[in-house]
Symmetry: C2
Subunit: 212 residues, 2 copies
């Protein structure tokens, strides 16, 4: 399955769960598009057909098998063990948020550099020294790493996670990680997103001025 489709598949899954909860058992691409809100029915058909889904012409798609199929592709069935590197506000909030939101995500190890934080516990999990990262990540059998450290420390954190066998990283630091290992990386740059918004606002403002 192609990269940019994945977020859409995830959106379909969410929408289909809603439809399921509402007691529906079948849905058309058009109906799903309306539910999702920002994706065309054509796009949905292309995605589902690429996925090998079985739609019935004249009827639509059976929801239950579709949900299962999407769940499988998206890895929603497995449980995943997460290592958090950097336990400041961001790391802490992420841990709380993701475990509350989806039971399939478990925080399995937490690391920080600051002696003030090391040794504290969160939900019973001790915050360890990043110096012990490789061993502890291996021991805790983490699949996914979350980097919530300052930009300067992000690259080395990523390398150590990769060295410990982690093959997927969610990176909150505003840095392009470069890794030799084949690691899936998703970047979330909060300050960057805010800047995109402010650039739109200033652009809108100056075009208003230009018109005046």
């Amino acid at each position: 399955m192609i990269d940019p489709a994945i977020p859409r598949l995830y959106a379909y899954h969410r929408a289909l769960r809603e439809a399921q909860a509402a007691g529906k058992s079948t849905i058309t691409s058009e109906g799903l598009a309306a539910l999702v809100g920002s994706i065309s029915s054509t796009q949905i058909r292309k995605d589902l057909s690429a996925l090998g889904a079985q739609g019935r012409r004249g009827r639509g798609y059976a929801i239950n098998p579709l949900v299962e199929q999407l769940a499988w592709v998206l890895g929603l069935e497995h449980d995943w063990r997460i290592a958090i590197v950097g336990f400041g506000y961001l790391g802490h909030a992420f841990a709380t948020f993701i475990t509350a939101r989806e039971a399939r995500f478990r925080i399995a190890a937490i690391f920080d550099r600051s002696p003030a934080v090391i040794g504290q516990r969160w939900e019973g999990i001790p915050v360890r020294d990043v110096a012990d990262l490789e061993a502890a990540v291996r021991e805790a059998d983490c699949n996914i790493g979350v980097i919530a450290v300052p930009a300067a420390a992000a690259q080395s954190s990523a390398q150590r996670l990769a060295a410990a066998g982690v093959r997927a990283i969610l990176n909150f630091a505003p840095t392009a990680l470069r890794l030799r290992e084949p690691v899936a990386v998703r970047n979330i740059d909060l300050a960057g997103e805010m800047s995109i918004l402010t650039s739109w606002l200033t652009a809108a403002e100056s075009s208003r001025e230009a018109r005046a």
Copy 2:
């Protein structure tokens, strides 16, 4: 300036600040590409030229004016007033993070629905009832809204922010916001990002199995 370039411009700005701090006064597109890490020098030249930057052939770009120009385009010079809707872990962490990270962002109003949270203070700012949103957002003159509420409440929060004159929204809820007003929206879907990672992991796993 075209949409998808903005995150890149932001990356350039960050890299140029580093170069500036390192005492450099001029840089080539090639050099900047190396610093940024994941963008080609051609792309950089295209972006900077579209921006109207003055490079000197044979020399490169003067850093100082370039940084100023980028700062202007990205709206880094103004201060911005933020309204946070939903003051759970996520809203709380975002407030702490963004104010610590960039002084130009000020939290100007905070809202929640829960009586347990309403009336609390954060850095002197009272958490108000969402019922008062429109009036309070206007009064506090907020430019940017941050939605950190459950998915079901996101759409109405967005509508009320838009009605109060907010023209830029950072949305943490996994919902496509639909607004009549011309509002810039950036979505950050943490659980979605995690699912993208898990889908890659399961795909990698099944291709390994297929090979075996």
